[in-house]
């Protein structure tokens, strides 16, 4: 029963056309989802071209030096962060290996706190968060060359962030329209099944089997093409650590919601 229905459905040229569009949309959706990630990796590679490892490491470092104060008796005292402030820094997102050090200068011991941020792209964020807590931080901004590079990155990054959502929304919309059309394409044949005595449950089963088959085919081609694209990215960008499980989950959820909406939002009923 399902087999002959699916076979007939795949013989329909317009359904096959929709499979091609769905496959292209699948690629776009997945590139959209990973767009900012790809840009990040690209700029990582670029940075390595203009800066050595030690410089990149320095870019990730943040220091807090509270300096010194003089008490009523005229004695110089080094200032320090409270325990709570230190805990807050450690708890801040992206912060790693927080260290408290001391430094002697002219008989006075100064407190210095050093820590790293996991990625140079996150330094600005951490600095901002600590600023709001009244903790004054210092960073090594890099040479003029690097500063221009970073400025450029953040511009591209925020633009890509917008593009990412535009792509995602557009592809979701197009996928939704395609599903609506696929459902419409089936309508007459499903109505015929009702005339022939198929039960509503059997008809629903056929409808979803058809939609799932089309989705599966478009995914299959899409995944093959994505793997090829991925390999190209890898040769250009080096190691990419895409979280596969997260990616698959996002895709399944997105498609399930689209399918559900496309089925639930009814067209005007057409009589025989």
């Amino acid at each position: 029963m399902l087999k002959s229905q699916i076979k007939a459905m795949l013989r329909n040229k317009s359904n096959r056309k929709y499979i091609v569009i769905l496959f292209i949309m699948f690629i776009f959706l997945n590139i959209g989802i990973n767009l900012t990630y790809i840009i990040d990796r690209y700029y990582d590679i670029k940075l390595k071209e203009i800066a050595d490892d030690a410089t990149i490491d320095a870019l990730k470092e943040i220091r807090v030096s509270p300096g010194a104060g003089i008490d009523e008796d005229g004695i110089v005292h080094s200032l320090s962060l409270t325990n709570e402030q230190q805990e807050n820094i450690k708890k801040t997102k992206y912060v790693i290996d927080f260290k408290a050090e001391t430094w002697e200068f002219l008989g006075v011991t100064y407190n210095i706190y050093k820590f790293h941020v996991d990625d140079w792209k996150h330094v600005g964020y951490v600095k901002n968060v600590l600023d709001k807590q009244g903790i004054d931080t210092g960073v090594y901004g890099g040479s003029l060359n690097i500063q221009v590079f970073m400025e450029n990155f953040f511009k591209v990054r925020s633009f890509a962030n917008v593009i990412k959502y535009v792509i995602i929304i557009m592809t979701i919309l197009i996928i939704f329209i395609i599903y609506k059309n696929l459902i419409k394409n089936q309508e007459d044949d499903l109505k015929l099944l009702s005339v022939l005595g198929y039960k509503p449950r059997q008809i629903r089963k056929i409808k979803f089997a058809n939609l799932l088959t089309i989705t599966a085919i478009s995914w299959l081609i899409g995944i093959i093409v994505l793997v090829i694209l991925f390999n190209i990215f890898v040769t250009v960008l080096g190691k990419l650590e895409i979280n596969l499980l997260e990616d698959v989950t996002i895709n399944v959820i997105v498609y399930a919601i689209i399918l559900l909406l496309a089925t639930l939002i009814k067209n005007k009923k057409k009589s025989l």
């Binding site: 002959s4 459905m9 022939l196 005595g197 039960k199 025989l272």
Partner: protein, 226 residues
């Protein structure tokens, strides 16, 4: 033998907040071994009446009996089962699946009949194809057939599960004279084999094939004596 009976049948539609009475106080019996022809102008409600008999549509008021059983209160699943077992539909525009071959189209109703397995389904299909003389067209698609051939496919499909009631809505409306004769020859042989055949038409030309002519006019159904 009585097959279909409508008692005090009414059908109304609400259109633009206005009530239209399509069928009013329909009382009619349909028996086996007869060809009934329901005539009437376009828009008289013939299709509506036929769809009601075939349980695709329902009466607003009144009762429909099939084989003595009141089917007015059946749910969708029960109605579907009844259609599968007892009713064969034939339409003016054939209503075939364009993307299925002759064989596949005819096989469609057999999948939901538990009586058949893969082998017997194939045998039954072959027999039906032979019956409508399309054995050499088995693997063809509807677009490769003439209108008359397509209608024969539709008839074979309608007969697949051996229904007693054949409902035909303008079955020769899109066909020429030669094919019209062929189709009615098939319908006549079905009648002679104990089926109850109900044909809807607005053409006077095919009246001659009827055993009983019923005229649908202003919602009322009357036996046409002449």
């Amino acid at each position: 033998m009585e097959k279909v009976k409508i008692e005090k049948g009414y059908k109304e539609y609400i259109k633009y907040k206005e009530r239209i009475d399509i069928l009013e106080d329909i009382n009619v019996n349909f028996e086996t071994n007869k060809i009934y022809m329901i005539v009437g102008e376009s828009g008289a409600g013939k299709t509506t009446l036929l769809n009601i008999i075939g349980t695709l549509d329902s009466l607003t008021k009144g009762n429909l009996y099939i084989d003595g059983k009141d089917v007015t209160k059946l749910n969708e699943n029960e109605k579907a089962k009844l259609r599968m077992e007892k009713i064969g539909f034939i339409f003016q525009d054939f209503y075939l699946n364009k993307y299925m071959t002759v064989e596949e189209n005819i096989m469609e109703p057999l999948y939901i009949n538990e009586k058949y397995n893969k082998t017997t389904r194939k045998q039954r299909t072959d027999k039906l194809i032979e019956m409508v003389n399309l054995t050499d067209r088995k693997k063809h698609f509807p677009r490769e057939l003439s209108g008359g051939e397509q209608q024969r496919v539709a008839i074979a499909r309608a007969l697949a599960n051996e229904p007693d009631i054949i409902l035909a809505d303008e079955p020769t409306g899109n066909l020429d004279k030669t094919n019209e004769i062929k189709i009615f020859e098939i319908l006549k042989s079905l009648r002679d084999n104990g089926k109850c055949v109900i044909v809807v038409t607005h053409s006077d030309r095919v009246k001659k094939y009827a055993d009983i002519i019923l005229k649908l006019e202003e919602g009322k159904l009357k036996i046409d004596e002449d």
